[in-house]
């Protein structure tokens, strides 16, 4: 167990320490400590723009995923209909197939169908691309919650005279709220971290943070700044776990 945890955490710790290393090439052990790279990264316009793009793409994809995933999970949990199994498979497919398959499929579709309509590669196509594989995490979380709570509470609410909308507002929504938060967090994290589908749907003008990191990895000149951004992301990854802990009792913060 201790060995396993060491395997998991040592590389992340090395990134954190390296971001203060005075040596540009990050030789180990560090020759000295400095804050210079952090201030340089703070001033890096490229990293800032990329971060902003990533946040926008993440929020957009999460919003779409929340709406579509919730609708689909309600349909599958509360009704029996022809093709119900097919819905589950269709929702899981975008995350089960390798990202590169989704990536070139979407890129091909954008070139052949959307570009003649005047929609070009950009933030919008990134959001749509991310939404396809974000739907599944919202769907899984809400579906699990709906299966656990069952429909009897809603029936009771209706029997007591509440209409469909009041029932949704006062009974159904509170029951699934924390599942929505968990699903939304996971969806945002998936989108924020995604690089493969992004590469194929972003075009040349838009750069998300992972794409920025990847393009700058190859440039020795940018290495210290990339390292700081990486260290920052390591620190930020604690945030969703902490949030999920506060909001729900589920330590796992939802299902994958």
């Amino acid at each position: 167990m201790a060995l396993g945890l060491a395997f998991v955490y040592v590389p992340l710790a090395v990134v954190l320490v390296s971001s203060f290393n005075t040596d540009r090439t990050f030789g180990w052990p560090p020759s000295g400590l400095t804050l210079e790279w952090w201030s340089r990264a703070w001033d890096s316009a490229g990293a800032r723009t990329a971060l902003l793009t990533s946040v926008k793409a993440g929020l957009g994809a999460t919003a779409i995923a929340l709406v579509l995933g919730t609708m689909a999970s309600f349909a599958v949990a509360r009704y029996r209909f022809f093709g119900r199994e097919a819905v589950s498979i269709l929702v899981v497919l975008p995350i089960a197939l390798p990202g590169i398959v989704t990536g070139i499929a979407l890129s091909n579709a954008i070139t052949t169908t959307l570009q003649p309509l005047g929609v070009s590669f950009g933030l919008f196509t990134v959001i749509v691309g991310h939404a396809t594989f974000c739907v599944v995490v919202v769907y899984n979380n809400v579906l699990a919650r709906l299966r656990r709570t069952g429909g009897s509470l809603e029936e009771a609410s209706m029997d007591l005279g509440a209409d469909v909308f009041a029932t949704f507002r006062h009974v159904t929504f509170p029951a699934v709220r924390s599942a929505l938060v968990a699903g939304g967090l996971l969806a945002f994290a998936l989108s924020f971290d995604e690089i493969i589908v992004t590469t194929f749907t972003a075009g040349a003008s838009v750069q998300t943070l992972p794409v920025w990191i990847f393009t700058n990895l190859a440039r020795p000149n940018q290495a210290p700044v990339v390292n700081v951004v990486a260290a920052l992301l390591v620190l930020l990854s604690v945030l969703p776990v902490w949030l999920a802990q506060r909001i729900s009792s589920d330590p796992a913060g939802g299902r994958i």
Binding site: G4, V10, P11, V87, L90, V164, I195, L217, A230, P251
Partner: protein, 298 residues
């Protein structure tokens, strides 16, 4: 007069609520149409065209796609030694990563679920899960710093007189194992947690030592969960092409070939045919493990 009449009628919300309540089919249609329309049109549509284009070719002169419908791309895949070698290498790496993940994850999951106290268990689950949220690229990048010529690994191994693996296929296996380890720990942990403690007690009452209990009781019962984790790690490794670019030196995997053909070489039909290879492998694998009950553990 009509205004009074209007006032007595129930509100619009109340009336539409009644209409919705009486028609469950209508509710279902309202719920399911939009998500399915989006997924079918955007995703399945794109995927369908991609699979179709595997049977097309490109004009070698203009680079335009010719929609003719041949098996030319697949013939090229089967005939070429390069593609066969890369496919075998990719499957080999994915298998190695899966085995390493299983070997590392099983003891961790066993300790978390059966040995640790409930309080520590919570902490350990969080500790294993937190890195799952750290960025993929950052983790791959971390290993680049670890494995570099003057990196941590070589520095730690130097007193022993050993050299680290450097960048290459071994590094790729290490990094992919590192990246996908939580995807193996989680299902195995969930599977072991469902295993009743009374079985372990029964086994030791019958005279089995700890090793024998793990071998003859725990492992067979946890097998479906391990397979479920293996599906994740195998499928994720099969499609990866970023990690190998970061730490793999000059090595190429299937993903690199697909990416190269879709991008720089501008040969989408060949890329599509290549992309069919991991999809086919995954479908065969999923059908093969269906009977172990692993799919219920996903």
């Amino acid at each position: 007069m009509s205004a009074v009449h209007e006032a007595r009628r129930p509100s619009l919300a109340r009336r539409s609520s009644g209409a919705l309540h009486r028609r469950p089919r209508l509710r279902l249609m309202l719920l399911i149409t939009l998500p399915m329309l989006v997924l079918v049109v955007v995703y399945l549509g794109a995927l369908g065209v991609l699979l179709l284009s595997a049977f097309w070719t490109t004009d070698t002169f203009t680079g335009d796609v010719v929609r003719d419908g041949t098996f030319e791309n697949f013939r090229e895949l089967l005939a070429s030694d390069v593609y066969r070698a890369v496919t075998l290498r990719t499957v080999g790496i994915a298998s190695a990563v899966t085995v390493m993940c299983a070997v590392l994850a099983f003891p961790m999951a066993l300790y978390m679920s059966k040995v640790a106290s409930p309080r520590r268990r919570q902490l350990l689950v969080v500790a294993v899960l937190t890195p799952l949220w750290a960025s993929y690229l950052v983790k791959a990048f971390a290993w680049r710093t670890m494995l570099a010529g003057d990196g941590v690994v070589n520095w730690a191994l130097a007193p022993l007189g050993v050299q680290g693996p450097g960048f290459g296929l071994t590094a790729t296996i290490i990094v992919l194992t590192y990246l996908w380890l939580p995807f193996m720990v989680l299902p195995v942990y969930a599977g072991l947690e469902r295993l009743p403690d009374s079985l372990l007690e029964a086994s030791s009452d019958l005279g089995a030592g700890a090793g024998r209990t793990v071998r003859s009781v725990v492992l067979p019962l946890a097998f479906p969960a391990v397979v479920a984790g293996a599906i994740f790690t195998f499928s994720l490794s099969l499609g990866d092409y970023i990690a190998v670019q970061i730490v793999g030196g000059k090595s190429q995997l299937l993903g690199n070939l697909i990416q190269g053909n879709a991008g720089a070489a501008n040969n989408l039909p060949l890329a599509a045919a290549l992309a069919a290879v991991p999809v086919l492998i995954m479908v065969v694998l999923l059908l093969a493990v269906r009977r172990t009950g692993a799919l219920d553990n996903l």
